[in-house]
């Protein structure tokens, strides 16, 4: 017993070394796969491995997802930028297309009539209760003069009233100061087209005995020397025969949507100008 106590450590070291050597010898002789100890150790370690690997894989997965999200965010921003650029391109293309359509209509007018036209762009609108005028980007430097008729597809819309060097004002037919001699295309009845503001125009001085119907087309009569004869002005939208006066009360709508005017033509032949 004394011997064991005295040499306890040495015996323990020896026992461990010998057991290790026995395991090595056993494994070399019978193969490591046969080892019962190995199987027990693996079974013991396996749950711990499972927990660690699960945690690490979770972290790796989260890390990977984070980078994936960062990548997606960058890609998203790039794509959004691209979409905005493409939207801008589409808008410009659409704008170009619409402008081309409008200009095509205007050109069809210039081809149809043997007049000299000047094209202009609308740069401003005066939409007060009494005055319905628009500003255009052409003036006397372009050969424009007061009184020249202004038209937009498919017909007349007004005349120039103030012409400066580079800008002009157009008095629209719907302005209450506007009075134009006109005729009903179907039966050639003559009257005066007057502006009625937001209600459009009215055809005045047509006796109640005359046959004017809803849908009749109103054209310029050519009287007065300002507007050429036979140009479209508007269409009758209502005829009131029940009023107390001597004349019919006829409401006329312009052919052109004046609120959407962007380009127009000025009939700039010298004969139409008012000196």
């Amino acid at each position: 017993m004394f011997f064991l106590k005295k040499y306890k450590i040495i015996i323990f070291i020896g026992a461990l070394l010998v057991s290790a050597l026995i395991m090595i010898s056993y494994s070399l002789k019978f193969g490591a796969e046969q080892s019962f100890l190995k199987k027990v150790a693996l079974e013991t370690v396996a749950p711990v491995y499972k927990i660690f690997n699960g945690s690490i894989q979770g972290v790796q997965h989260a890390w990977g997802n984070y980078f994936l999200l960062v990548g997606i965010q960058e890609e998203n921003q790039t794509l959004k930028k691209k979409i905005n650029e493409l939207k801008a391109v589409i808008v410009s293309y659409r704008e170009g297309y619409l402008e081309a359509q409008r200009l095509k209509k205007l050109l069809s007018i210039t081809d149809r009539y043997p007049y000299h036209f000047t094209a202009a762009r609308v740069i401003g609108r005066e939409q007060a209760t009494l005055f319905r005028t628009i500003l255009i980007n052409k003036g006397s430097s372009d050969g424009l003069k007061n009184g020249m008729p202004v038209m937009a597809y498919p017909g007349l819309i007004g005349r120039l009233i103030d012409v400066s060097r580079n800008v002009s004002r157009v008095l629209l037919f719907i302005d209450e100061n506007s009075h134009v001699d006109a005729i009903v295309q179907r039966n050639r009845i003559q009257g005066i087209i007057s502006g009625a503001g937001s209600r459009g125009m009215t055809l005045k001085y047509i006796p109640k005995t005359q046959d004017v119907q809803k849908g009749d087309v109103i054209i310029s009569s050519g009287m007065g020397g300002i507007f050429p004869k036979g140009w479209l002005i508007g269409q009758v939208i209502s005829v009131d025969r029940q009023n107390d006066g001597l004349f019919l009360k006829i409401d006329v709508a312009p052919f052109v949507d004046l609120s959407k005017l962007e380009e127009l033509l000025i009939l700039s032949s010298a004969e139409t100008a008012i000196e």
Partner: protein
């Protein structure tokens, strides 16, 4: 008894942590043997019985987990532990460069022993890049070992108000 059981559990945790974290960081290019640093630490700081038990457990579990010949790493670890234990009387084991250098040598020799065993037992030839890998592995462990020693010493002071 409880103390030795806790050593066994700690050994398992260390081995599992070592193999999983090593795989994560070094992508299986080489193994970072924290277990060997623990063996060196045990040789320098722990008493003989506890150190022997911890070393044997570490070696045995690593043997079983790594797929090497059972008992081989236990044997080598025991040799390393005994070397550390007996040499610690002659070295200033508080110095970082001593720890680093000794750890470097221990890892290098352990790997050489391992290669030699496989060469002798299974006639596995040494590949040219093996020494480069062993050197790098030893260098990494040598650099990490002083940090491990410092952390363990601080933990000992924190827990027992003295070094282990």
């Amino acid at each position: 008894m409880l103390h030795y059981l806790s050593l066994f559990i700690l050994a398992i945790l260390l081995i599992v942590l070592q193999s999983t974290v090593t795989d994560l960081i070094f992508s299986s290019y080489f193994m970072f043997e924290m277990s060997l640093v623990v063996v060196i630490y045990a040789g320098f700081r722990l008493e003989m019985m506890k150190g022997l038990v911890l070393t044997f457990f570490l070696g045995l579990i690593l043997d079983c987990v790594s797929g090497s010949v059972p008992g081989l790493l236990s044997f080598i670890y025991l040799i390393v532990f005994l070397c550390c234990f007996f040499i610690s009387d002659f070295l200033d084991t508080e110095k970082n460069h001593v720890i680093a250098l000794f750890s470097f040598i221990c890892v290098f020799l352990k790997e050489i022993m391992l290669q030699a065993f496989y060469y002798l037992a299974f006639d596995v030839g040494l590949r040219p890049y093996v020494f480069a890998v062993i050197f790098t592995q030893s260098l990494v462990v040598g650099l990490i070992a002083p940090i491990f020693f410092y952390v363990m010493d601080r933990a000992g002071i924190f827990l027992y108000e003295k070094k282990v």
